[in-house]
Amino acid sequence: MDWTAIALSVKLAAIVAVILLAIGLPIAYWLTFSRWRGRFLIEAVVALPLVLPPTVLGLYVLLAIGSRSPIGRAWTAWTGHGLAFTFEALVFASILYSLPFAVQPIASAFSQVDVSLLEASATLGASRWRTFFRIVLPLSIDGVVTGAVLSFAHTLGEFGVVLMVGGNLPGVTRTVSIAIYDQVQSFQYASANATALLLLVFSFAVLAAVYAILRKPWAVPALS
């Protein structure tokens, strides 16, 4: 079994989930509470990765970070090496690819919060920040957890974007899904099966844990 690939995938997914949480919260907040008429445009952009083939997204990310693009040149000037086919490129591409999986559950949870609670918070002297951290976030915590876990799981399982942007460098960009593909290509069905099974069991366990946290099957039914 390719433990290096597994470790790399988990590391990538964890980093992406943390970053997506950090940028997903403000984006979701803005999408929920903005009154700008053009809001639907941003919503459409955020949802794009859901419908685009990974190859399309991967191609444009590759062009965007290539040595001829401003981003690629700035990166080279800063770090001394190119961005394409690096772990950082994978993180960048995965953030874009998993963005809707973070933003949509969080935005949906935000929009479920009763507006009168936000107004009550304001009349009690709380700033928008305080209202967000004391009221909106605690009441949306299920959606936030869902968003983080879905980003993690979705990044863990991605294939096309990784292949386009990262290539297949062991220990750098060869994630678990690429490793499985390699093993199948070289007829190592036994090890491919072992890795695939591990990914399957792990993904199921993560999702089951999330739904358990959300549904709380161990809790006593509430009175009202």
Partner: protein, 363 residues
């Protein structure tokens, strides 16, 4: 002297509805009364800063909170206005104590604790401080909402139908506590309601809203007892409205006779400067009509009308009877009175109405 709340606001919500109100509230309870959709909540939201008026000013004493012309619009969190929402808006994930502490972030832990305990004592919720809002009774929730707003020591308190859905006994106990609180603090309190019962029970002053405008303002007695307007009369609990024609006037007795349209029935009503033969509109409270199961004699009341009982409906502690006396009258009586009278459908009945129970309202 306590700073007064002075406001004049205009807010267009739709093509059909514009709020356009000027009011000046001194300390004590001012009732804002009106049917749903009359603009009561919109007015409170404009005062609290949750809605921005299109024009006008809002001020507490010499502090301007909003002035459209000068471009002043103080954010709701800086207005120091207590607001109790119709749905109470208690924070469900926080304990009662944390709900009350929410508006006290600027105080030290010890000051916070002291204020919460004394306010909770005053409103009888000290025993539920550690519970969540979902785990206490409806009356307790209402008290918590009130206490959460008052513990912050607001300069003005706005109450948006805070006691609707509670039984009368619980309502009046909560109101007594609010009065007791305000006798010490003496701030202006605006209390929004659509229940005419609450107007008399609570208010020193009442402002009546209709379609976004003030229809009348004054003491409850002034506004509700001599309603010059049919909408006002309806709001004030008048259930019976009839169109009639003046048939005779007795200026010496201070009364006049009116023939109810479509009937041969005359009603004696207080004299007004309506001309003979002119149409009038008469309003009578259902509770001001007596019902008899045989023809009454030797009464001071001048109007005794014969009819038949069409049907009765039980509404809480009141029986609502509809009586056909050429036109339909609505009469309120108690269930026990209903039993004593042995009334059935189609029973012959007599209606007794005092002259001064008949109010003339604008056509």
């Amino acid at each position: 002297m306590t700073p007064r709340l002075a406001a004049s606001v205009r807010k267009r919500l739709s093509d059909q509805f514009t709020l356009d109100v000027a009011l000046d509230a001194a300390e004590g309870i001012t009732i804002v009364f009106g049917a749903s959709g009359s603009g009561k909540s919109t007015l409170l939201r404009c005062l609290a800063g949750l809605l921005t008026p299109d024009a006008g000013q809002v001020a507490i004493g010499s502090t301007t909170l909003f002035d459209a012309a000068r471009g002043i619009n103080v954010q709701p969190q800086r207005r120091k206005i207590g607001y109790v929402f119709q749905q109470l808006a208690l924070f469900p994930h926080l304990s009662v104590e944390a709900n009350m502490a929410y508006g006290l972030a600027h105080l030290t832990e010890a000051e916070r604790r002291e204020r919460i305990v004394s306010t909770a004592d005053r409103f009888g919720i000290a025993h539920v401080l550690i519970r969540k809002p979902g785990a206490i009774s409806g009356g307790e929730r209402q008290r918590v909402a009130l206490a959460r707003a008052l513990v912050t020591d607001p300069r003005v308190l706005l109450l948006d139908e805070p006691l609707s859905g509670l039984d009368h006994a619980t309502q009046s106990r909560i109101m007594e506590d609010l009065r007791a609180w305000n006798s010490a603090h003496d701030i202006p309190i605006l209390y929004v309601t659509h229940s005419h019962r609450e107007v008399f029970a609570l208010g020193e002053r009442v402002v009546v809203l209709e379609d976004g405008r003030i229809l009348a303002a004054g003491t409850p007695q002034d506004v509700m007892d001599a309603p010059a307007h049919e909408t006002l009369a309806q709001l004030a609990g008048f259930e019976n409205f009839f169109t009639a024609t003046v048939t005779a006037k007795q200026p010496d007795a201070g009364v006049m006779q009116c023939r109810l349209d479509g009937t041969a029935t005359d009603l004696e009503i207080p004299l007004a400067d309506t001309e003979l033969g002119a149409p009038v509109r008469i309003a009578i409270r259902a509770g001001d009509i007596l019902l008899a199961n045989q023809e009454p004699r030797g009464l001071s009341a001048r109007n005794v009308l014969q009819g038949t009982l069409a049907f009765t409906v039980r509404e809480g502690a009141t029986v609502v009877a509809r009586v056909d006396a050429g036109v339909f009258f609505t009469v309120h009586l108690t269930p026990s009175a209903m039993e004593t009278l042995h009334l059935r459908q189609k029973s012959p009945v007599w209606l007794v109405v005092k002259t001064h129970s008949c109010r003339q309202v604008a056509l």
